[in-house]
C-alpha cells in the first residue's frame, strides 16, 4: 500500500468514526446498512471480480448467514456477536461445497446454477420441516443489541444505533484488511491468473479446482457475515427479504462499484443503498425505470466502475499516463 493510499484510508476511517456523532440515528442506521452491503459486495467481488466466476446466487449465502445468526439468537440464546463467526463458518462450508460441483460449469452455466440457488432460497426457508427453526413465512424477530454496559461506565454514551454502527464498522475493517491481505499476495495472483487464462494458470502449477472452490467458500463467508450483520441491524428475517432480486442487486453493486477492487465494494454499497431510494422519491409510477436509467448512465460514463474511474482520474491528476506502473 502506497503512503498516499494509507493516508487516504486512515482519513476515510476517521470520517467513518465521526459519522454517527453528526448523523441522525436513522441516517446512522443507513450508514450501518451501507457497511453491511459493502462486506457482502466484497465477498461477491472475490469470486466474480477477482476469480471471474459469475454468481447470481449470493443472496442465498446472505440469507444463510442471516438465518444462522437469527436462529442462534432466537433458539440457542447466543449473544449477537457470537453468532457472526458461526454464520461465517457455516457459509464458508456451504460455499465450498457448492463450489465443488460448480467447478464443472463455466461462465453462463455457472451463472445459471447460482441463479437457481438464489431463486430457490426463499422457498427452502419456507419449507415446512424447517419451520420449527426458521419460523416459516412469519420469519424471526430478534432483539436489538444494546451497547455494552462497560462503555457507558467508561463515560461513552452511545445509543443502540450508534453502537450497532461501530460494531459493523469494526467487523467491516477487519474483513477488508483480511481481504486486502489475501488478495495482494500469492492467493490473489492465483485467483486473477485463473480468471485471465484458466489453462495457463493450470500450466503454471496452480491447483485451479482447489482455488476456485476456495474462492467460492471465502466469498460465501464474507456474504454470510454480511447477512448476519444485516439481520441484527434490521432485527428481522423472513424469506421474502432474500428474493432473487437481492442477488442481482449485489451483482449490480460490484459492477457499478468496480470489479476486482476493494474500494469498489464501498462505492457499490452506496449505490445499491441510496439509488433505489432516490428513484422512489422521483417517481412512484416507475422507480425501476429511473433506477435503470441511472444504472445505464453509470455504466456508460464509468465502464470500469466508480473505483476504476477514480483511479483513472487520480492518474490523470498526477500527470501519469495510464497503466504504466509496474
Amino acid at each position: 500500500m502506497s503512503r498516499r493510499m494509507l493516508l487516504l484510508t486512515l482519513a476515510l476511517l476517521a470520517i467513518a468514526c465521526a459519522l454517527p456523532f453528526v448523523l441522525t440515528s436513522y441516517r446512522t442506521f443507513q450508514a450501518a446498512l451501507v457497511l453491511v452491503y459493502a462486506i457482502a459486495l466484497l465477498g461477491l467481488n472475490i469470486v466474480t471480480g477477482y476469480n471471474g466466476q459469475i454468481s447470481l446466487g449470493h443472496g442465498a449465502f446472505y440469507a444463510l448467514g442471516a438465518y444462522c445468526s437469527a436462529i442462534l439468537m432466537d433458539q440457542a440464546g447466543l449473544p449477537y456477536w457470537a453468532t457472526i463467526p458461526i454464520a461465517g463458518a457455516a457459509c464458508l462450508v456451504a460455499g465450498f461445497l457448492f463450489g465443488l460441483p460448480a467447478l464443472r460449469l463455466e461462465g453462463l452455466y455457472l451463472a445459471l446454477a447460482t441463479f437457481a440457488l438464489g431463486v430457490s432460497m426463499p422457498q427452502i426457508l419456507k419449507y415446512h420441516l424447517l419451520e420449527k427453526w426458521t419460523g416459516g413465512v412469519q420469519g424471526i424477530v430478534i432483539a436489538k443489541p444494546e451497547p455494552p454496559a462497560a462503555l457507558a461506565a467508561a463515560g461513552l454514551r452511545l445509543d443502540a444505533d450508534q453502537w450497532l454502527y461501530f460494531f459493523v464498522l469494526a467487523i467491516a475493517v477487519i474483513m477488508f484488511l483480511l481481504a486486502w491481505n489475501l488478495l495482494r499476495g500469492r492467493v490473489g495472483r492465483a485467483l486473477v491468473a485463473i480468471r485471465d487464462h484458466h489453462t495457463a494458470a493450470g500450466v503454471m502449477g496452480i491447483n485451479t479446482a482447489l482455488y476456485k472452490s476456495l474462492a467460492f467458500g471465502v466469498s460465501a463467508l464474507y456474504t454470510g457475515v454480511a447477512g448476519a450483520l444485516g439481520a441484527i441491524a434490521v432485527q428481522f428475517v423472513a424469506p421474502d427479504s432474500f428474493n432473487v432480486l437481492l442477488s442481482i442487486t449485489f451483482l449490480v453493486g460490484i459492477v457499478v462499484g468496480g470489479l476486482a477492487s476493494l474500494s469498489g465494494a464501498l462505492f457499490g454499497a452506496l449505490f445499491i443503498q441510496f439509488v433505489p431510494n432516490i428513484a422512489d422519491e422521483l417517481s412512484k409510477a416507475a422507480p425501476w425505470a429511473i433506477f435503470g436509467a441511472v444504472l445505464i448512465a453509470f455504466i456508460y460514463l464509468m465502464p470500469s466502475g466508480v473505483a476504476g474511474a477514480l483511479r483513472a482520474l487520480g492518474a490523470r491528476l498526477a500527470g501519469q499516463p495510464k497503466e504504466t506502473r509496474p
Partner: protein, 403 residues
C-alpha cells in the same frame, strides 16, 4: 361608556373563551396548526406491485380531502415510500418516516411480513401503526401491541363464516380443503376448523396443500376428488384458484365450492378458469364491487367513479384495490376528525379504538367500522355472495364475526 363597556366585556369574554380552547391544542411530532404528516409504505415495485394501487388510491383520496379544506382546518401530508414488499426495506422506510420525516403515525402499511418486521419497532417507539393492510389475525392484540391495529375482516373470521354456512345448509357435507402452505393458508384452515367446532371436524374428509413454488395444483385436486367429498373449500391465491376451479370441473367433480375472498375476482380468477366452470362458487365480500352491475346505480359507486375520474384518472375503476383505498381513506379522515385538536399519538390510537358503528357508504349495507379499547378489529362482518356465471349475487344477511 356603555358601548365601550360592552365591547371590552365581550373582548374579555372572547379571550376567556378562546384561551382554554387554545390550551387544549396538543401536538406530537408530525402535527401542527396547519398540517398532519402521515407515513405509509406500499409495494410500488416488485412482485406484489399490484397492491401499490392501494397507496395511490389513498393518496388520491387525501388530495380530495385537502381540496375540501383538510380535516379540522389542517391539510394532510401523505408521505408514502416504496418497500417493494421486502421486509428489510420496510424497516428502513418506517424508520425514515418516524425518525426523519417525523410523521404523526403510519397508516395502512401493506403486507403481513412487512408489518411483522416493524411491529416491535413501532410499539417500542409508541408510534401508531394504524389500520394495517393485511388479513392476518395477529393485529388484534391491544394488550401486547397497543400501537398496532388491523383493518379488514381477518382470514380466520372469514373462514368461520363459510363453516357456519355449510353447517346450516348442508349438515351431511363431506368437505375437501385445498390450502396454500403458509401462514395465510393456515390462518384460514384454523378458522374453518374452529368454525365447524370439535364435533363436526370429522366432516373434513380430505385436505391437500401446495407450495407457492409449484407450477400447478392439478394432482392435489384429483386427490381431493377421489375422497368423494361433496363440498370443496378453496384456500388459494388467484393463480392457483383459477387452476383448481378448472381442474375440478374438467375432472367431472361437481362439489359445492367455497372460495376465499383473497381470490374473489372475476377478472383475475373466473375468466382464466372459465366463467361457466366457475358458476355457483360461493365467496364473501364487504366492499361494494364497482364492477357489479347491481351497484351501478348506487350513489356511493357513482361518487367513487367521479372521484376516480378527477383524482386518479390512470387508475382502473374496476380494480378492487382502488375502492379499497378509497374506503380506508374515509376511515383515516374519520379518525382525524375525532381527534379534533388533540393530535397526540396516544389520542390517535384512542380515537381509532372508539369508532362505534361508523358508516362508509362503499361498504356493503349493514357493515360498519366498530372498535373498542380491547377490540382492534375494525371490520368484522361480511356477506356471502354467489357467482352466477356472469356476476356476483349477494345473498343472505350480513354475517358478523364479532366474538
Amino acid at each position: 361608556m356603555r358601548p365601550v363597556l360592552t365591547a371590552s366585556l365581550s373582548a374579555v369574554l372572547a379571550l376567556g373563551l378562546s384561551l382554554p380552547a387554545a390550551a387544549q391544542k396538543k401536538y406530537d411530532p408530525g402535527a401542527s396548526d396547519t398540517e398532519i404528516k402521515i407515513g405509509n409504505t406500499n409495494p410500488y415495485s416488485g412482485p406484489a406491485s399490484a397492491y401499490g394501487v392501494i397507496g395511490k388510491s389513498i393518496a388520491a383520496y387525501i388530495k380530495l380531502v385537502n381540496d375540501k379544506g383538510g380535516v379540522n382546518g389542517r391539510k394532510i401530508n401523505w408521505i408514502s415510500y416504496d418497500d417493494g414488499y421486502s421486509p428489510p426495506k420496510t424497516v428502513e422506510m418506517a424508520r425514515k418516516l418516524v425518525e426523519q420525516d417525523q410523521v404523526l403515525f403510519l397508516y395502512q402499511t401493506l403486507g403481513t411480513p412487512s408489518n411483522t418486521a416493524i411491529h416491535k419497532y413501532m410499539n417500542m417507539r409508541k408510534v401508531p401503526q394504524l389500520h394495517v393492510a393485511t388479513g392476518a389475525s395477529k393485529w388484534n392484540d391491544p394488550k401486547h401491541f397497543f400501537w398496532t391495529m388491523g383493518w379488514q375482516p381477518n382470514y380466520q373470521d372469514e373462514a368461520k363464516v363459510y363453516a357456519k354456512h355449510i353447517l346450516q345448509t348442508k349438515p351431511d357435507a363431506k368437505i375437501a380443503i385445498l390450502y396454500q402452505n403458509d401462514d395465510y393458508g393456515k390462518d384460514y384452515l384454523k378458522g374453518f376448523e374452529d368454525g365447524l367446532g370439535p364435533n363436526n371436524r370429522k366432516m373434513i374428509v380430505a385436505r391437500a396443500s401446495y407450495e407457492v413454488s409449484e407450477p400447478t395444483v392439478d394432482s392435489q385436486v384429483l386427490q381431493l376428488k377421489a375422497s368423494g367429498a361433496n363440498v370443496f373449500f378453496n384456500i388459494t391465491t388467484p393463480k392457483f384458484a383459477a387452476q383448481a376451479i378448472r381442474a375440478a370441473y374438467d375432472s367431472g367433480w361437481r362439489p359445492i365450492q367455497y372460495l376465499n375472498n383473497v381470490s374473489s375476482s372475476i377478472g383475475a380468477v373466473f375468466k382464466p378458469a372459465g366463467l361457466e366452470k366457475s358458476a355457483g362458487l360461493i365467496t364473501t365480500e364487504y366492499l361494494k364491487d364497482p364492477a357489479n352491475p347491481a351497484h351501478a346505480s348506487d350513489a356511493a359507486i357513482k361518487d367513487f367513479v367521479a372521484f376516480m375520474k378527477k383524482y386518479y384518472p390512470d387508475g382502473d375503476v374496476t380494480d378492487r384495490n382502488a375502492i379499497y383505498g378509497y374506503t380506508v381513506g374515509h376511515a383515516l379522515e374519520q379518525v382525524l376528525k375525532q381527534c379534533g385538536d388533540n393530535l397526540t399519538r396516544e389520542n390517535v390510537m384512542k380515537q381509532a379504538a372508539a369508532m362505534k358503528g361508523f358508516k362508509i357508504d362503499t361498504l356493503l349495507p349493514g357493515i360498519t367500522v366498530s372498535t373498542g379499547a380491547d377490540d382492534y378489529a375494525p371490520l368484522q362482518a361480511v356477506q356471502l355472495q354467489r357467482f352466477n356465471g356472469q356476476t356476483f349475487e349477494l345473498f343472505g344477511q350480513v354475517v358478523s364475526t364479532e366474538h
